[in-house]
Amino acid sequence: MIELRNKNFIRTILSKAPLILLFVSVLNDYDFNYLSLKYFSFNFSYILIFYYSLKKSESLGYTYIFIAGLFNDVVAGTPVGLSSLMYLILCVAASYLRNITLRPSLLKDCIFFLLTILIINSLLFFSLNFIFNYELSYFDQIINITFTFLFYFLFSNLFDFFERYFVSNNNAG
């Protein structure tokens, strides 16, 4: 009986792992900036949201993504609602790609992801710079986009591995 309860608990935790990871990432901003690498930064939340909206949309609810965006705005000091909007646009793109894809491939996903983050970051740069009068470094944005795109390959494989060997196995067991 106890073993069954433990198994249920682990299953719940594993199925909620993406959501926990999303909130940890927006609250913590873990992007290895403390390494002080001059030309390195990436947006982990974008990768996580895009991957899970594309592959397992039930893992991250849209409402939670919206709330995570509000949290991110407070942490980053940007106008409340802006990150939520960007995250949701990312979800729209992922959902659209899911609807039109018959045979999924990582390369297609990556190219679509690149297009989406380019649009999102342009929107973010435009709105912060011209509407809300924030000063942003254009060069840093480009670096952020590049690394976010490159890391999508890595994290997408990691998430695939996690889903296949941890979540699916636990559900089957």
């Binding site: 913590n28 901003d29 942490v75 980053a76 959902s95 470094s137």
Partner: protein, 283 residues
């Protein structure tokens, strides 16, 4: 042609309107909410401000807890890095200490003399109230250089108060909540403060760059600024008390940029002093 257009519309409509299992809202409605938040927030709408304050208190506290594992990782990385440099640093510090001891004696005499002279010319002396605060989280993202501290309006923190790391200027308070506050660091792109470059007494503006250094801007006597000059607050505009040390000029031969290396390492802040300066009566 007509069919592919229909497919596009159907896929897009489904993306916007379809609710998944256990989803309460469609994407379109949530996007609509976000835009409402943005618009009302930009007009300083009261309800949005209350929502923001509520989220702020939750986020700052939970951010501190969530950051614990990363901070552990960060601290161990920095400890190892520091350990490697320890021996050389110790030798250097020893020799510097001897020089500083001698200078300190001279300084004490100059401070006392300065106070005496100020009394004679009826200039005001500055007294300060200090609040020690702990850094809850430091979000050194490429777009933002600010820290969150665990003191807020409850502890009499006010907007614009000066934040110092020891004797060095770190930034100023830009957002005050009930139990926490946000400090804009000098390295932030949006930070611009009046400074004086010594020697030569060149007045200028120090701007943040979003990196770990600042740059000197808008000075008429740009050529008088030499490498290794020290930057102090100038006191112009009554933003800061004059004479708080900030950093040292480092001129790169490759460019004309006057870089300022801050005395304080903003990535290592654990405790800081929030200070308000007031004029005090001469004795």
């Amino acid at each position: 042609m007509e069919t592919s257009r229909d497919d596009f519309v159907i896929a897009l409509r489904s993306a916007f309107l379809k609710k998944g299992t256990q989803q309460r809202f469609s994407l379109l409605s949530l996007i609509f909410f976000s835009i409402i938040f943005l618009i009302l927030g930009s007009f300083n709408f009261k309800i949005i401000n209350y929502v923001k304050i509520g989220i702020t208190e939750i986020v700052y506290r939970s951010s501190f807890i969530v950051s614990v594992p990363e901070n552990l990782l960060k601290d161990s990385y920095l400890t190892i890095q520091n350990h490697n440099k320890l021996y050389k640093k110790n030798e250097k510090i020893k020799s510097e200490l001897e020089i500083l001891k001698a200078k300190d004696l001279l300084n004490e005499f100059i401070i006392l003399e300065n106070q005496r002279l100020k009394n004679i010319v009826n200039d005001y002396l500055v007294k300060s109230d200090t609040i020690i605060a702990k850094v809850l989280s430091d979000k050194s993202s490429p777009f933002l250089r600010s820290i969150i501290i665990n003191k807020g309006s409850k502890h009499k923190i006010n907007l614009g108060m000066v934040v110092m790391d020891g004797a060095y200027l770190v930034g100023k308070v830009v957002e005050v909540n009930y139990l926490s506050s946000r400090v804009l660091l000098l390295s932030d792109l949006n930070s611009k403060i009046p400074v004086i470059v010594e020697p030569n007494a060149v007045f200028s503006i120090l701007s943040g760059t979003g990196k770990d250094y600042g740059i000197i801007q808008y000075s008429k006597k740009f050529d008088d600024i030499k490498s290794e000059s020290i930057i102090y607050t100038s006191g112009s505009g009554s933003l800061f008390k004059a004479g708080i040390p900030i950093g040292r000029i480092n001129i790169n031969n490759m460019s004309d940029e006057k870089k300022v290396e801050f005395f304080s390492d903003f990535s290592q802040l654990k405790f800081i002093k929030v200070v308000s300066f007031k004029k005090s009566e001469n004795k």
